[in-house]
Each structure stands twice: as structure tokens, then as C-alpha cells.
Assembly symmetry: C2
Homo-oligomer: 325 residues x 2
Amino acid sequence: MATRVTDGNHQGLVAGVDLGGTKIQTIVVQGTEILGQARVPTPGHGAEPITAAIIETVRVALDAAGADPSSLRSVGIGAPGRAKDGVVSNSPNVVGMQEPFPLGPKVSLELGGVPVHVDNDVTVATMGELERGAGRPFDSMLGVFVGTGVGGGLVFDRRVWHGRGAAAEIGHTVVKPEGRPCGCGGRGHLESYAGRASMQAKAERLVAQGEHTALFDLMAKHGRDRMTSGIIERALAHGDTMTERLMDQAVWALGVALASAQNLLDVEAIIVGGGLAERFGRSFVDRIAAQMRPLLFSPDHPPAVLPAELGDLSGAMGAIVLAGG
Amino acid sequence: MATRVTDGNHQGLVAGVDLGGTKIQTIVVQGTEILGQARVPTPGHGAEPITAAIIETVRVALDAAGADPSSLRSVGIGAPGRAKDGVVSNSPNVVGMQEPFPLGPKVSLELGGVPVHVDNDVTVATMGELERGAGRPFDSMLGVFVGTGVGGGLVFDRRVWHGRGAAAEIGHTVVKPEGRPCGCGGRGHLESYAGRASMQAKAERLVAQGEHTALFDLMAKHGRDRMTSGIIERALAHGDTMTERLMDQAVWALGVALASAQNLLDVEAIIVGGGLAERFGRSFVDRIAAQMRPLLFSPDHPPAVLPAELGDLSGAMGAIVLAGG
């Protein structure tokens, strides 16, 4: 059991919360050291239960750190959708948070008035990689997170570019006009090919057309209702040709979208994170870089294309950075 | 004849030079007032004759302003390709300037040591629109110049983003994988559909396949060897269906590339300049905006899409801004 330290030693305690569609991941740090962690499934029935769950993870992580809630200096939260002044909106993947919700003020109130900073989850993950991960050596970078969807974060001169509040939607780059349907209602987007939700929908359509795959048997066997990166890895290990094809198409789409983005932005580095990058690491990222190369305007001067370093903790660590930790 | 004013009145005289593939356009300004102009065809046989022609335009423009060369405070030059410390390189469209050439120092030497600032022509045109044109009200913008090729300029927080020196190559956004050939050696780029050189090459291929068009007759009639925006306008006035189709495809490609760019950048404004925008103005730009709309991630929050205001003088006026004028 961790020794309970006095509050005096925790003046620098900061909590970082990564609010995802499936889980809430929270860490408590002092300086660069992670002192405590907590993780719970995201409640599926509204903003208030989500707020309560976030507060519970902060308390559990503080307890794991052997610290008192009163020792908390600030909290950062990365949340899906848009965030302005602590109010979260447009979070289609989090049940009950489609309407604007004052997540920051609510969490602050429950935690005794501690400052709470909220920003978009992918923006926050990009900040994590910039300050504590693979982005450290670079002044400009594009963060790309390949998960259920595909999100991005832009950094110029070591500052995150927000645009008017909705920048870096790299997942909605058109890679094939009138191509595969996208969750956003559009067609032929990067996310239509590289987002796991779209890949799963495509696999379902192919099966309905009579094609064979081990994907759904593997999902059933491992008790999954979603085509996770772990399921994809297992299917590839079984030599499943549909999965190989879906992955080839995901890499192709990433190559097209990231090459066009690089031709526009000319950043020093592209950092690729999210489930597929965590699972397949350098080999996945190298395939994307190889796909990009012939499409670059300056193929002899490509950006560094690197896997994210913080893995599953990009978001929570970015939330620490957001909170000034 | 302009009255010859004394040097004392010209402490603020600045020259702006727009070095293009076909012409050199130079203006001399004091404050925001254009006092003199000069324009000559770009010499087609090397860097030294181009340098001499630039110097000649500066002298002629100064003379038109009734000013002495010694009254010149600084010179700005927008040049194709890359520019660093006054050295121009990668200028494929200017004969004799493919190899690195110290244009800034050479022009400075010939003009008695006056400071000469050189930057990429499209970057400079974007600066012109930002400071003196349609970009004035905006903090962030994407400038797109649709001419022989398609170039761009990026502005975040009212500062031009250069990347590592080659940013804003919006013309080399992939709009159709494995689509039309591009002058850069790639395929399916925005420039493959909206650059006039590529449009002309496509028209030539269609004619070779037996299709009919008034384009080449009109070029011959008007003594043009290039499919200028004026020729395109005349062909459209004749109801030339091939030209209509080429323009539809150009607008389509601009819509796809600019929507993807907007989804990534979320800028306040997209300013469209170059020959086609000058010729067709608001109606051309509105067609592009309409094409973009359904492809935007936030279709209810589109950027302002506006024609450039400075027309033919975007580049020269931007060069004035570059030179601190």
C-alpha cells in the first residue's frame, strides 16, 4: 500500500482525464511522474453520470497516489467534440453529451473549486505527444489518431492551431470522391477507410455480399462487439484476406490524406497514434510513410513519420499539459 | 509628364516586383499610393537577363513616379519556386532559374545596395491580399491562386506560415487518386484539373481523340499559344462544351481540395486569385464555394470564400508588403 504523504508534498499535483467513447482514463502526476491512475468504462446514459464517473476516477487516482483531494492544483480534461470555456458540445460518440454541457464548471464544483481546463480529446492528445511524447524535438507537427474515427491535431511553432474551434479534422479529408460512406454523412473520407467503425461497417457489407472473414467469429470468441485493433491483429495472424485488404485500404487512405496535408502544411513531423498505431507501431507507420512518399511534392524532403510514444496515455498526459502540469 | 520631385519626398519609396513565368510586373509606392508602374515580358533565356529586366522595370517605374533611383528605400520580389536569403531555387516555370540563383543580392548590387527581400510569388501574393486586399478583415486565411499552375499561401494569426520552406502547395492536393497527370509528375492533383497548363494539355488530348472545341481556333485568332483566361472566356461565350466541361472539372477539383483544406485548417477565409478568378470574379468563386459546401465537416459554418481584390497586382503589392512598404 502506498504511503500516505502529507499535502505539503503535493502542491504540484495535477490530474489529467481522457474522456473517451468507451473509457475514462485518468492519471495524477507531480512534475513528470505519474503517481496514480484510474480507468472506468464510460457510462452510457448521460452527461451527469459521466461527470460523476470522471470525479470518481480523479478521487481513485488521488487515493492511489496516496494524496488528499485538497492537494489537487488543477485538472485537465480531453473530451470528444468541441470545448469552449469548459463547455463541451458536438460529442456524437458520448451518450448524453450531444447538447452543450458545462463539464469543466461541474467537475470544478465537485472538486472544491479547483481549476478545470477542457479541450478536444485529439487536440489534447496532440499536446501530450508534443510536450511529453514523440513530438518533443519538433516545432511543427501534425498529430493523427486512428481509432474508432480519425482525428488530428495541428502544431505550428510549438503552438496548437485551433482554427475557429474545429481545426484538424484530417479524418474528413476527401481521399476518393464519391467513395465509401463516412460516419459524418459524407463519402470517400480518410475516416471512411481508416476509422475502425467504418472498417467494421465495410466488413459487415462484404459479409452480407457473401464474402468470408474470420473477423466476426474472432469478435464473438473474444466477447467483443467492436472490431478492435486486437481483433484485427488476430485476424491478420490467421491470414484473413478481407482484413488484409481493409488494412491495405486504410494505409492507402492515410497515405493519400497525409501526403496532401503535408503538401499544404510542410510540417517537420507527422505523429501517428490511436489503437491501430499502438497495436502495430513502427511497421504500420512505415507503411503509411511509404504510401505517402510518391505523393509528396518534395519526396526528397519528407517529414518524419513516427508512432506516438505515449500510447494509451497520450490523451491523459495531454490533459496534464493542458492543465499546466 | 510627371513632375520630378526631390529625393527628400521619397524617403518612403518602395518597389514591389512580381516575377512571373510570362511577365515582370513592378510598382513603386509611397505609403499606400502607387506612384509608378512598369511591365515587361519575362526574358526566356536565363537568370542574368531576368535580373537585368527586373532592374530595368524598377528604373522605369521610378522614372514614371518622377523619382531618382537613390530615393528607393527597399525592394520586394515575389519569385516562383523557393526563396531563402534572397537565393531563388526550384523555379521550373522560369527559364534559367532552375538552379539556385542569388537574385536578391544581384538586384541589390545593381541598385546601389538597397535592401532586397525575396519570397515565393504565391506567398507574396497572399501577403498582398492579407494586408492590402480581401484578407484585411481576417486573422486566418488560405490564399489560392489559380493560374498556369495552382499555388497557395497560408496565414495563421495574421502571419504567413512557410513550413520548412515549401508550405501551401495546395495545387498538389490529391483530388482523384490515379487521375489526370500533373505537371509535377504526379496524378490527380488539384492543379491537374484547375491549372491552365493542365487544362490546355487535357484539351489537346481530347482533340487528338477526335473531340471538337473552339479553343484552339480562338487561340490562333487572337495570337495566343496558351489557353489564357481570356481565351476560356471567349470559348464559353461561344457555348464551347469542351471548355464548359473543363471549367466544371476545375471548379469540382477546387471544391474538393479547398473543402479538405478547410476541414484541416478551419480558417476564417479562403481568398481565390489568379487569372481565372480575375476573369470570372465572384461567379467563379461562388461556384467553388457551392462545390465545397457539402464536403465541409461544418457545412453550417463555412469560411468566407472571396475573390482576391488586388487582381493582377496581388503579387507586386505583396512584394511591397514583403519589403516593409
